[in-house]
């Protein structure tokens, strides 16, 4: 029994660690969006501010990327949902002998690396364009068109899988009955099959849009000279970062949380409805009157979530705008003082050094060694942290207050340097 408890404790610890790993980075990123520091970080905390959301709203490149992304997302939904549906319907009717081959072909885009899909799409339409003698301005050289096609290649396979799962629960007898009663095949499709597939069409559309919205690997090759949100973000993150990206992440995380909550509520309601219909079918329950549309939209839980979101955003925004300037001046003042103190200390130290050479001899060679070792390892270590901080680091240990120290090393901060050089 004892070993059982020990094991249970370790399992709980493991699960806790897993979720910490899953959410820790996101929480930290969220926090950095509200720190007024010009570099995204949590410690040292400077001022609580919402200014990075303002910076985000004024970023023209990002907004253009966002517009393109939305447009591409809608395009992908329009292409991949009908294609996926056709593919799923085909699978149910294709000959037994050909089915494995057919399935392998249509499922393969999921398993092919996105990079390969992007490249092949780009090359194919380029060659087609040459074959038909199209000009460079035509559709086949348009980044947005190519991206819609390239992404749809594999997103159609996702939607197809959703449709297949739903079609497996479809009773083909219903359609046959309708046709026996004189319905045309189109009527049977629109009156029987489509209503049955409606929820799946909705979820397939959402899935397709989200998959398109966050795709990078395929897009980066097919987009050519245009830009999407992900490509703009990628170039921003690679060459110099600031907290407005965190602000964007906060918005996305908030939307996701909202979506997950809505999804959960809808699912619960669906389960409840299913239970109800089952009970009605068994005759255990009188068929209840259906709720009116208004009552269904205005679910108390949904209203609660909506209000909480508005309240949260409002509080954060107002808290972020109030007193930021005063706080900033204080922080700037503090920083200045610390730097001054530091300079003074270094001056003193320089004086001491000439007076006490013994201390110098013990520390200096060590540092020297480190620098050369790092230097031979790779030439890029010119931008290395250690080399840069070789001077201020020993200094750090002498001071008594570590917190102010962190701010003090700001100017020597390698990440600040990175911003200009890029890590590539």
């Amino acid at each position: 029994m004892k070993s059982y408890h020990v094991r249970r404790f370790f399992i709980l610890l493991f699960v806790f660690g897993f979720f910490a790993y899953l959410f820790g980075p996101l929480i930290l990123m969220t926090l950095t969006a509200f720190n007024s520091s010009a570099f995204p970080r949590v410690t040292p905390w400077e001022c609580f501010s919402a200014e990075w959301f303002g910076v985000l709203a004024q970023d023209a490149r990002l907004l253009e990327g966002l517009r393109n992304s939305l447009f591409i997302g809608i395009g992908v939904v329009c292409v991949s949902v009908p294609l996926g549906l056709a593919g799923a319907l085909m699978l149910t009717q294709v000959k037994e002998r050909i089915r494995p081959w057919y399935y392998t072909i249509v499922i393969s885009p999921i398993l092919v690396p996105g990079v390969v899909l992007g490249i092949s799409t780009l090359l194919f339409w380029d060659r087609v364009g040459i074959m038909f003698g199209m000009s460079r301005e035509s559709l086949f050289y348009n980044g947005i068109f190519l991206t819609i096609i390239g992404q749809s290649t594999f997103i159609s396979a996702y939607t197809m899988l959703l449709f297949i799962a739903r079609l497996q629960r479809f009773d083909p007898g219903l359609e046959e009955a309708a046709m026996d009663l004189g319905a045309t095949s189109v009527q049977a499709f629109t009156k029987i099959l489509l209503p049955f597939l409606k929820p799946t069409i909705a979820s397939a559309a959402v899935l397709a849009f989200l998959a398109s919205f966050e795709n990078y690997n395929t897009t980066v090759f097919t987009i050519i000279s245009e830009s999407t949100l992900t490509t703009v973000l990628a170039s921003k993150v690679r060459y110099g970062i600031n907290p407005s990206i965190s602000a964007l992440a906060v918005i996305i995380v908030a939307l996701t949380l909202f979506g997950a909550a809505v999804f959960e509520i809808l699912k619960r309601r669906e389960l409840a409805a299913e239970k109800e219909t089952k009970l009605v079918a068994k005759g255990l329950l009188e068929k209840t009157t259906r709720k009116s549309l208004v009552a269904r939209v205005l679910d108390p839980a949904l209203i609660m979530i909506f209000l909480i979101t508005i309240a949260g955003v409002g509080t954060i925004y107002f808290a972020g705008t109030m007193g930021v300037d005063e706080c900033k001046t204080i922080v700037r003042e503090e920083k200045r003082k610390i730097i001054e103190r530091k300079v003074r200390r270094q001056q003193q130290k320089a004086m001491f050094k000439s007076a006490v050479p013994q201390e110098d001899r013990t520390t200096a060679p060590k540092q020297q060694e480190k620098v050369t070792a790092k230097g031979t390892e790779q030439y890029k270590s010119v931008f290395d942290t250690q080399n840069l901080q070789g001077d201020p680091a020993p200094d750090n240990q002498e001071t008594s207050e570590p917190k102010s120290n962190d701010t003090a090393t700001d100017i020597f901060n390698p990440s600040n340097l990175r911003q200009s050089t890029g890590t590539e």
Partner: protein, 307 residues
């Protein structure tokens, strides 16, 4: 065959039947098969500027594949050490990421499916979705912030006295490993969770009642049942890790390249599309081999992997 099409049209009607047929042929031919054939064709031709494509200068050659193995004729080494090293390191790293994710996800998936109680289990399952829909690039960005030399981890380590000065996690690829494992963790946990969840609890109970220790229950009951999920997760994670571009671009140290980055450079910086597509084809073939390998080892069908 004729009878089959007659039946097909009779069932679907003219409009719908034609639509299904045209849509499927368009998808399969124009979007899937032909682009791949064109890429293979392109990778087997000389590298000439776009206006000369399709002319006599654009002839067939194996030079790009040779280049990947032997390097340029002028180089001193007899093999293309840089590209080959990057290739094998990418494959190795992708396998490692797969193993890390599997060892992280299996216990958690089992926990959510069978140990956790009602409300908690649902909450955990839903909360798994949230990080999944946060952009790949933003996830990498979060790790860059965290592992940076003034990031939370370094600040904590220095503050607590474990390190005397910040450690460059990014240059030594710690950030890349953590970020990659994070990026694909959900593609591992969902298939395993779905597979484990369908296991009848009574089977576990029965094994326990018959005196089986916990590890043997997993080895003989749970893992065999979850096999399709495990193989599906492993394949997806391996493919995505080997084919990823964003995370190595953002989190990779200055000295470490990913194979996709070489492809990207061939396209966007060197302007050598032919070599880029040759390398992309090598990546594709590697992935196909891996899928076939997994299908063989786990004895599963393709349909069970792609879900």
């Amino acid at each position: 065959m004729k009878a089959y099409w007659k039946q097909f049209y009779l069932k679907n009607g003219k409009i719908l039947g034609s639509y299904i047929l045209i849509a499927c042929i368009f998808w399969m031919l124009v979007m899937i098969i032909l682009p791949q054939i064109f890429m293979v064709d392109f990778s087997l031709r000389t590298n000439v500027p776009p206006p000369k494509w399709g002319t006599e200068v654009h002839s067939y050659t194996l030079e790009h594949y040779k280049y990947m193995v032997y390097g340029s004729a002028k180089a001193q080494q007899s093999y293309n050490v840089v590209d080959l090293t990057v290739f094998f390191r990418t494959i190795w790293a992708a396998i490692m990421v797969t193993i890390i994710d599997l060892s992280l996800c299996y216990p958690v998936a089992y926990f959510i499916a069978h140990v956790a109680k009602g409300g908690w289990a649902r909450l955990m399952a839903v909360s798994l979705i949230v990080p999944f829909w946060v952009n790949e690039i933003l996830r990498a960005f979060a790790f860059k912030i965290m592992f940076g030399s003034s990031g939370v981890i370094n600040n904590f380590l220095v503050w607590s006295g474990i390190l005397s000065q910040p450690y460059d996690f990014i240059r030594d690829n710690w950030a890349l490993w953590a970020g990659l494992s994070y990026a694909f963790i959900l593609l591992m946990i969902f298939p395993i969770y779905n597979a484990v969840e369908t296991l009848d609890k009574n089977q576990i109970e029965a094994a326990r009642d018959l005196g089986s220790p916990w590890w043997r229950i997993h080895w003989r009951v749970v893992i065999p049942h979850a096999k399709p999920g495990i193989s599906s997760g492993c394949t997806m994670v391996f493919m995505l890790a080997a084919g990823t571009l964003a995370a190595p671009q953002i989190l990779g140290g200055p000295s470490s390249l990913w194979f996709t980055q070489i492809i990207y450079q061939a396209f966007n910086q060197a302007g050598n599309w032919a070599r880029g597509s040759a390398y992309a084809l090598v990546l594709l073939i590697t992935c196909i081999i891996f899928v076939l390998f997994v299908m063989k080892v786990f004895k599963v069908k393709l349909g069970e992997i792609a879900r």
